[in-house]
Amino acid sequence: MNQPIISIKNLNLYFGKQHVLKNVNIEIPQNKVTVILGPSGCGKTSLLKTMNRLVDLHENVKISGQVFLDNEDILKDNVDITRIRKKMGLLSQKPSPLPMTIFNNVAYGMRINGIKRKRKLRPLVQKHLIEANLWDEVKDRMNDPASRLSIGQQQRLCLARGLAVNPEIILADEPTSALDPLSSTIIEKQFVELKRDYTIVLVTHVLRQARRIADYIVFMYLGEVIEQGPANEFFENPREEKTKAYLKGAFN
């Protein structure tokens, strides 16, 4: 395995008295699809939100440990959070287009980061919509409100919006759970395409989805990492008893 892009060391996360992540150690390889797998409520989403520090929004959060992104500990107090977040595009469970037009949704992040001219923005918006496999469907209705798109299109719009700030990593939190099978397939295919240029961290509880696209698997249960490793090893020779039970469908 080449140099990991994110490495998490002894991470503990508490919401008040609730111990959500227990001594988590993970290494996420670059330009691969890493799937964080586990039954609902095992801390997958919290782990993802720790990586771009959206957990900061919660009250009574206590974090210890280190999360290295490009060899920089992002949990330190003095890091520039907006810069860290920009390195990671987030795709949430329910697509959440911003309350503006399709064009402005994609342009939003670029405008925030200083590209204001429409002439400059237009080709970039197009490029990212193509990357997200949405361009052909929306090219004639760029000024429609984003909320008029179908859910599946909205999720791809959110992907394009995330790609537009040139992240290194795409964090996806069960991005297909609200989508129909066809839209899910499109998103999955897109991830496989995108891993040439990006690192993808996908949270899911759908085992089949993990089998289809994962290169590397992190299996979590009740806040702990039970097992992690390359996908084929994980599925063919699971080491831990809990993993074997999960693969047989015990926790679903």
């Binding site: 771009n52 329910k94 959440s96 911003l98 309350p99 503006m100 925030i112 537009a164």
Partner: protein
């Protein structure tokens, strides 16, 4: 037998529910009709144009020009809204996006208490605090002389009274913005303030408009607190530090006392009619604005 009794009961209660509904629907129409009926006389004799735009107020001579009152009402209302708008917006943003949960749990009852204080108390407090403040400090600051009883004092008292009313609505509106959208903006590298400005405020814009429109309706009709500080001198105020005489104060001060003067009764009903029409107009307008804005989003 038993079934029959139940059916009868059902029919009676169903009818009762409808009757109450009709009552609620007819009530505003009834008020409008009686105001129209009572003010018909003066509209006939003086004409609506003269009533609205004449500044001559000589009831004994039978001349009723409402322009000074209308202008006073407009000034006081606009001033009140302008002062209260930023306070409410920023407080609501702070409470929903910056302050801790504990703070907003603490602030909710505080706001509710402010909303529940009888307006006469705001009026007394205005006389005690706002009047000297306006007369001795604010007016000289802007280079005017004033006793303190003025449009400005009315606007300030009104602004304070509107805070709990508008603030509560704004907090409710901001709470309905999905946290995912806010997080999405943050995760694109936007700062907290950028996310609030571009996502939260933008998404809540129709709601914000309607909150202020409702506040405006309320402000326009607020009577007693404004009456106590605004001076109640008939005349078109030339600046904000002169006294004014808003429509509600005119009605409250005179109804029941001056009715021996011919037409006065009818004139006051006309004032009430203006109030009602303006309030209804702004209510409807805010509704249309909301529908329009929501369609665009």
């Amino acid at each position: 037998m038993y079934l029959k009794a139940r059916k009868i009961k059902d029919r009676i209660s169903g009818g009762w529910v409808q009757l109450v509904l009709v009552f609620v629907f007819v009530l505003p129409l009834g008020i409008l009709a009686s105001l129209l009926y009572k003010s018909w006389l003066i509209m006939q004799t003086t004409g609506i144009g003269d009533l609205l735009f004449s500044s001559v107020w000589r009831p004994l001579a039978g001349e009723f020009g409402f322009f000074p009152f209308i202008i006073s009402s407009i000034w006081v209302t606009i001033l009140g809204l302008l002062i209260t708008a930023p306070i409410c917006l920023f407080t609501a943003i702070y409470l929903t996006y910056y302050g801790s949960n504990r703070l907003s749990v603490f602030m909710r009852p505080v706001i509710d208490i402010l909303a529940g204080i009888p307006s006469v108390i705001y009026g007394v407090w205005g006389v005690l605090i706002i009047i000297p403040f306006t007369g001795r400090f604010l007016a000289p600051l802007f280079g005017y002389e004033s006793t303190g009883f003025s449009i400005m004092a009315g606007g300030l008292v009104l602004a304070i009274m509107l805070i709990p009313f508008i603030l509560n609505i704004l907090i409710e509106i901001f709470r309905t913005v999905p946290v995912e959208q806010y997080e999405a903006s943050l995760s694109l590298g936007a700062t907290q303030w950028e996310s609030i400005k571009h996502v939260v405020v933008r998404r809540s814009f129709p709601g914000i408009v309607s909150a202020f429109a409702l506040g405006l309706s309320r402000a326009f009709g607020e009577t007693i607190a404004v009456l106590m500080v605004v001076g109640n001198v008939v005349g078109v105020p030339e600046n904000l530090f002169q006294p004014g005489y808003p429509l509600p104060a005119l009605i409250a001060n005179n109804y029941g006392e001056m009715l021996s003067i011919p037409m006065f009764d009818s004139a006051l009903m006309f004032a009430a009619l203006i109030l009602l029409v303006v309030v209804v107009f702004f209510n409807l307008l805010s509704r249309f604005v909301i529908i329009y804005l929501e369609k665009r989003q």
